[in-house]
Amino acid sequence: MIDVRVELARNAFRLDVAFAGDGGVTALFGPSGCGKTTVIRLVAGLERPDRGRIVLGDRVLVDTERGVFVPPHRRRIGLVFQDAQLFPHLRVATNLAYGRFFTRPADRAVSRDAVVQVLGIDHLLGRFPATLSGGEKQRVAIGRALLMSPDLLLMDEPLASLDEERKREILPFVERLRDEFAIPILYVSHAVEEVVRLASTVVRLDAGHVAAIGGAAEVLAPTTLAHAGDRFGAVSVLSGKVAALDPAHGVSTIAHAAGSIVVPRLMASVGMTVRVVVHATDVALGRLPDGATSVRTTLAGRIAAITSDVDGPFALVALDLAGGERLYAYLTRLAVDAMQLAVGQSVTALVKAVSIDERGVAGVPRA
């Protein structure tokens, strides 16, 4: 859907990236200063690449070779800036309405009331931006970009300045944009949960280059992330079909070849295919009878690899689950030694249902 291949030099900084996003969310991920905002600005048309081509659907937005450069206002690409950039002379309501003006009524897919309500900004409508708090500004900026019902939405760390609760309210809304309105999104975030939940494609940038690209499962899998030292960002992505809903307990059971996964959420319908994100730090291994603990989700697998930090306390255990998916578990080296774990052993993986973040469970996005 979006195909980016650009080069840009800015003094010492050199950007040279190529990636393609599908119709869903493409996440740009990487350390501070790696070039995420620059990519976003290139796609929006606020920056011209030295060389390259950007294609959105069947529209060529930029092609330096053929001298094509569609100006920002003809791209129909919404942008949520890292720092809100509201119009200081317009009230919040007018800020929100600004883009609607240029949206043909037929394209006005996003309803103002829904946006205002989800973002919790109805009490701010009559105010000027200078009187808003940091998070309030950012929410208005999100609303402003959404309301133009763009063909592509660019979001540069949109939730960074919001509290957890607010994030948890806004995320499903972003999902709805992706799914119901089929608006593709290019999403910059440092938060693994957000990235995993939303993104079908993750692009990891490093110093202006693409370090890794692929599905969330691959790019954020521990082996690739281990060197980054962030074990909390390491996840496995399992997929399965919704097997049963338990409205009484508010949970769903996902059938997986290696066992069943209980997630704290009522899925839309039985039979639907879903992805579940499991943090490697949330997986314990055991050899024990079912029902001995409060842990509902037990998955059978075989140890495929054990990677130990040489001097750190951790070991990463990769399990091949029945059915072929791979599940990662972070343990202490102490535990690996105490349990005498070794490659080839059969073990049970335990995953607490409560540790599965709803943010990390999603219907498989249309690719």
Partner: protein, 229 residues
């Protein structure tokens, strides 16, 4: 308190100042925008030309206007023939002179305000689908309100005081081109005219003061946003 002729001069000055300011404003905004944001060859030249009425003695500007826009002037003749616009020895000419003399002041103030706008706000408008002219009208222009108002006040004040170029261009005809400063000049040429000159000077100062206060109020209104970006 004032003679009929003085009242006429006061009224004329108000008219000339207002028309000159309003008439020059759109062009000043356009030129200020070009100078603030444009990158084109000859930009320095335009900048220089804009400053010319400030640099030249008013008499010279007046002569230049006379030669260009007089009845026999290059533009004057064409304008009169095709559009019926006549400047020479009319109040319109006084307004033209005042507009030209105030132009550099206007452009500078407006340009400074344009330059102070963070262009990412304009970029935000563009990403929302607004074409450049619309961005200009709905974002750049209101954000430059302070400079536009300041420029207008400067030009209006200058129009109240402008004398050299006006009297040289359109002479000093009571009821037609005799504005307050021209009337003051007449007083200074008259024995014992000091009091009259002082009186009219006070009038000019009072008018300018009123314009100033009005402008501050209008900017403060525009600044309900807390006044900053």
């Amino acid at each position: 308190m004032f003679s009929p002729e003085e009242w006429t001069a006061i009224g004329l000055s108000l008219k000339v100042g207002t028309i000159a300011t309003l008439g020059a404003l759109p062009l000043a905004v356009a030129v200020a925008w070009l100078l603030a944001r444009g990158r084109f060859p000859g930009k320095a030249l335009i900048d220089g030309l804009v400053h010319l009425p400030l640099v030249l003695p008013p008499v010279v500007t007046g002569y230049a206007l006379l030669i260009l826009f007089g009845r026999r002037g290059v533009f004057g003749a064409a304008l009169a023939e095709h559009f019926g616009i006549v400047f020479s020895f009319r109040w319109t000419g006084a307004a033209l002179a005042a507009g030209v003399m105030g132009f550099p002041l206007m452009v500078r103030a407006i340009r400074l305000s344009f330059e102070a706008i963070d262009d990412r706000i304009e970029q935000a408008a563009a990403t929302l689908g607004a074409p450049p002219l619309w961005v200009f009208a709905t974002v750049s222009l209101p954000l430059a309100a302070r400079g536009i108002v300041a420029g207008a006040v400067l030009a209006f004040a200058k129009a109240l005081g402008e004398f050299g170029a006006t009297i040289t261009f359109v002479s000093n005809i009571p009821g037609q081109t005799q504005t307050i400063p021209a009337a003051i000049y007449s007083y200074t040429q008259t024995p014992g005219g000091d009091l009259g000159a002082l009186k009219l000077s006070l009038v000019a100062a009072a008018i300018a003061f009123a314009a100033l206060i009005l402008s501050e109020l209008s900017v403060r209104r525009a600044g309900r946003d807390g006044g900053r970006r």
